[in-house]
């Protein structure tokens, strides 16, 4: 199908974009990479009065290392992240997750800010933001505010961003050197949304676990931080029993729904399997191996 009619604006500045959002009073949609929004328009699941296209606003696409964090402009294309040297070197977890976002022609247009604001719970970036305890910066006529991942995601395709607010920056804390990481995903075909995916970061001290970070995608209405599974590792270490206990606990922490792709039960099972797999791979990398 074809998109329904709308008024189209391509502002040249953030101020102009914010003024447009105010003018349309919640009836406008922001257009970033369009890889989720345009299908919704084509299906006529959305009929916004206006589109405010962010693509002509300069200065919203950048990747910088800053104060122990990777800082990305919201309009940074997934393709730019995929081929970024600093991402590959400093946050290979982000590189690995990016390669699972759709296909290369999708990543040419798709943006990190757009993916987070769209908030599909099966998408890679929301889970990554959750695992890394990242945050986003949003601007509105009322000023700037910083939102942690847990504050951003509300439910399926819904964030706490206001209709007059624009997500402008993503901040991802860098794990300390030597930390292991993994992004394990199961989907029916490469490039599909995950049925379930698990992001893991593990900081080890011998057999002890100084810090573990785990988050699941596709296992509920928002990405799920698997805190109690992390706690098992931080308390009991990184032995076989602890890994298995953490994976089993992970499956109890998620509340997936059944849909045409998979039953809730299967998703729960996958959460355990992928958590264990992600932990083992992260540990192999923490040892300096390639996993």
């Amino acid at each position: 199908m074809k998109p329904p009619p709308f008024e189209y604006h391509a502002p040249a500045s953030l101020e102009e974009a914010l003024a447009l959002l105010v003018r349309y009073g919640g009836e406008a949609k922001l257009l970033a990479g369009g890889q989720s929004l345009v299908p919704l328009l084509n299906f006529r699941l959305l009929r916004p009065a206006a589109l405010v296209d962010l693509n002509r606003i300069p200065g919203l696409a950048y990747i910088r290392e800053e104060d122990g964090r990777l800082v990305l402009g919201a309009m940074t294309r997934q393709r730019a992240i995929e081929f970024s040297d600093v991402v590959r070197r400093r946050l290979p977890l982000l590189h690995a997750a990016t390669r699972l976002v759709g296909h290369l022609p999708i990543r040419t247009r798709g943006t990190i800010g757009g993916s987070l604001a769209h908030a599909d719970p099966a998408a890679e970036y929301p889970a990554l933001l959750t695992a890394l305890e990242g945050e986003v910066v949003a601007v509105s006529p009322r000023g700037r505010r910083v939102l942690a991942a847990a504050e951003l995601f509300r439910t399926y395709l819904t964030t706490s961003l206001g209709t007059d607010e624009i997500l402008v920056e993503v901040r991802l804390p860098l794990p300390p050197p030597g930390a292991g990481w993994a992004f394990e995903e199961f989907s029916r075909r490469h490039g599909d949304f995950a049925i379930v995916a698990v992001a893991a970061v593990v900081e080890r001290e011998g057999a002890r676990c100084r810090r573990a970070r785990l988050a699941a995608a596709g296992a509920g209405p928002v990405p799920v931080r698997l805190r109690e599974a992390e706690a098992i590792l931080e308390r009991d270490g990184l032995g076989e029993d602890a890994l298995r206990a953490a994976a089993a606990r992970a499956a109890e922490l998620v509340e997936p729904d059944s849909d045409v792709h998979a039953s809730a039960e299967y998703r729960r099972h996958l959460t355990a399997v992928l958590t264990e797999r992600a932990l083992r791979r992260a540990l192999a990398r923490a040892d300096g191996g390639d996993g």
Partner: protein
């Protein structure tokens, strides 16, 4: 009806211009307004890849972009691949390896593969298969398509080493 907008862009090396509603998809603009029907419309929601074109040298879904967003851009469609009546080496490889049956996915396959080969000059077979998953072939002719892309890689390497 929303006001019409003017879209000016370069397609296959030629300056082109058209007027359309802002809601017009790039793929429909190419086909209906510019008469370039080589780019195919399949699923219209970014899954099948039949509409893949190059936007400023990089593969995109032309059904997931508005024509107005391509104002000022440079587009390559399948019509722009052959030069002086001679097939592009990748098209030639498709021809020689029986990489098309009904041909519906072929324009998207070619342009997605070209972008992939630009970014991955020496790909493994697994990488080629992963990249070609970006475009669906309903004749299930993937084997020939993979072989054609491999042949194009070999031909380019041979060309570079002067053989």
């Amino acid at each position: 009806m929303a006001e019409r907008v003017t879209v000016r862009l370069t397609v296959n090396g030629q300056r082109r211009e058209g007027r359309c509603e802002p809601r017009k998809l790039l793929v429909d603009f190419l086909r209906e307004d510019l008469g370039l029907t080589g780019t195919h419309v399949g699923c219209e929601h970014g899954i099948c890849g039949a509409c893949t074109v190059l936007l400023d040298g990089q593969a995109v879904r032309a059904c997931l972009m508005l024509a107005v967003q391509a104002d000022g851009a440079t587009i390559t469609t399948v019509e722009g691949l052959a030069t002086d009546g001679r097939l592009h080496p990748l098209q030639q490889a498709f021809h020689e390896h029986h990489a098309l049956q009904c041909g519906f996915c072929t324009p998207g396959m070619l342009l997605a593969a070209l972008d992939f080969l630009e970014t991955h000059p020496d790909p493994t077979e697994a990488e080629i298969r992963e990249a070609l998953a970006a475009v669906l072939c309903r004749c299930t002719g993937y084997q020939g398509i993979v072989e054609a892309v491999q042949a194009a890689v070999r031909a380019r390497a041979a060309g570079r080493s002067g053989r």
